[in-house]
Symmetry: C2
Subunit: 350 residues, 2 copies
DNA sequence: GCGTGTTTTGACAAGGTTGTCAATATTGGA
DNA sequence: TCCAATATTGACAACCTTGTCAAAACACGC
């Protein structure tokens, strides 16, 4: 007979009795507090192991101040970007004994501070998380940062943010990545390069564009305003941009899209317009999302280590929670990678 | 000055004092228990409102038996299917005052019962959820169901399961949906129809195939074993199936894929082989995932109301939690929808 | 008016942990 | 050897709610 039913689970008292010490000593050992002899420490550990002891979260957070809960705040689930980050964050939480809960807060960007506060309290007051992982576009929102700070909730941000923002940050070097892309294109011989921006409230949109601009200038090329199009990071906006380019008298020979979804839209529009990618126009994306290998041709792009970003974010957060020194600022930059696939080629000989 | 900082939050005692009643009466009112005069009830409600009182989850779950936590268990995040369901589930949880946490358990299917138990305990023992939303392919796994039952954790399953499985279930009519697809194809005049299966551990694979088979028979057509291919629900397996079909002496005139990702792979393979969809071959998917409108041509498919499935799952679970009658079985079938897009057409005249 | 039965209310314990502070054991120096 | 200082340990309160059970209030029938 398989033993499955969990009997009355062991409490700290039981561990204490078995180890022949007081409850408080057990607490000390299990929380790695100082002032316990090594001998007792071992004894307690053994007893806990033997009894298969697991501390009660509710009791802990009732008495102590921790909830062992981390909240991932984003404005919309469903995007490849959010999901991949979430994946890494969940794994890291499981490893660290934390629990990840998802908070979906919509359209927070346009709200006033009291409204933002109400939204957060609505979701978080019942069980206040020990920390929040803030994703784009909220990562860069000052009002949201302010509200969370006033609520006393530590935050780690994922993605590029304005330089004045303090605190924990995990990102890649969007700026350098954009330079890498432009360098690749100029090395192929492209001079007339178009750009499709992401949604304007996200900092990455600005950063990627300035990397693009600087690299263009460094290559002795001008950024033609007619070849810079707005976008929303959605497929459809890329498609629209693609159709715009099609109507130009002189098309760009290459287009750098601020993300993969839009790049796929651009490629779709170009193909529908009778052009071949990369024979007529090269296209580069950003993210290395699923779609990059599901579209044809395969998309040349920048790989963001999304799930690593999520995992590092959680680890940073938990580490800072354990440090005496609060509001420590820390910035982690993970490596991106240029992924050469099939949507780029030298410009067509005229 | 905006008041943002949450001061020492009100406790039940404060509400009791303000309302001039005992703590227990407040508890009764707030939990909608009987045996309180309407007059007092009103008074307590007003006091709670005035003090902006929010009960402490930790205290509640320490003393009571609820954790106000629901766990979504799946074997992999990142798929469109899981994410869309999760989206609906998160929203429903927020509405109901619950919190959704994600449990990622990998490869549980191949494990023994003690291993499964260990995996669940590893994730859930610290804070036992009030219930679990079980997604495919775990929804149909008997061992997992057994373990959760023994742990005393209520379960709601999403997606088709074996008929002998009791309990809460939210699904669409996969069987009927498959019949709808075949009917559409036969109405167009197709006779030689291929099928690509999903991964074998998922019940939906069997159900969709049997719907396909029955509808074929009903239309007086034979299911040609050479036109039935295995798959994994992944894009790549659809691509492989597409390449297989290409090599046949006589291609099917239409292919029914068990999901959209594979359908996209099939279309990609056919197009690479120089065939046009739907001119040479019609393709139908299942799910109406993102990719259905990002590929070209747009994919004809069956829409599953995924986020509704997630939302209903949570609501069912919470409802059953509040009922005295435990292990009540309940089955909810949501409506699917046939979505006609551009990958189906009458078979080519020979 | 009194006893009986029912409804409403409250006092108090319990749940499992951590923080405080006092008690005890240990060390070092005179 | 003894005292002071320090390191280790434990007793007990506190955290905030819910469950139990007894007390109080009320209704009803005689």
């Amino acid at each position: 007979m398989v033993k499955v039913k969990s009997e009355n689970t062991a409490k700290m008292k039981d561990v204490a009795d078995l180890a022949g010490v007081s409850i408080k000593t057990v607490s000390r050992v299990l929380n790695n507090e100082p002032h316990v002899q090594d001998k007792l420490r071992r004894k307690v550990r053994e007893a806990a192991e033997k009894l298969d002891y697991v501390p009660s979260q509710s009791a802990r957070s009732l008495r102590g101040s921790r909830s062992y809960d981390i909240s991932l705040v984003c404005h919309m689930a469903g995007s490849n970007y959010v999901n991949a980050i979430q994946f890494g964050a969940v794994i890291a939480c499981q490893d660290l004994g934390y629990q990840l809960s998802i908070s979906l807060l919509e359209n927070l960007g346009s709200k006033s501070i009291p409204e933002i506060q109400a939204a957060f309290e609505g979701v978080m007051r019942r069980r206040k998380p020990d920390g929040v992982v803030l994703l784009a576009p909220y990562a860069n929102d000052e009002k949201i940062g302010f509200v969370l700070q006033e609520m006393g909730i530590p935050v780690v941000r994922v993605g590029p943010v304005d330089t004045q923002t303090k605190g924990l940050l995990v990102e890649i070097d969007d700026y350098q990545a954009s330079i890498d892309v432009v360098r690749h294109l100029t090395n192929l011989g492209h001079k007339r390069i178009g750009f499709v921006r992401g949604s304007e409230e996200q900092r990455s949109t600005q950063v990627r564009f300035s990397g693009f601009s600087v690299a263009m200038e460094a290559a002795g090329l001008k950024v033609d305003p007619d070849l810079v199009r707005p976008g929303t990071f959605q497929f459809e906006s890329g498609y629209d941009a693609g159709r715009y380019f099609l109507k130009l008298d002189e098309l760009p020979t290459a287009i750098f899209s601020s993300n993969d979804d839009m790049a796929a839209g651009i490629v779709a529009a170009l193909q529908e317009g009778g052009l071949s990618v990369p024979q007529h126009v090269s296209v580069v994306g950003f993210d290395d999302a699923d779609i990059a290998t599901r579209m044809r041709p395969f998309l040349t792009t920048i790989r963001q280590p999304l799930s690593d970003l999520g995992a590092h974010a959680v680890r940073e957060l938990v580490t800072s929670l354990n440090e005496a020194d609060k509001n420590g600022a820390h910035r982690i930059v993970l490596k991106h990678e240029f992924v050469l696939r099939d949507t780029t080629a030298p410009p067509r000989k005229l």
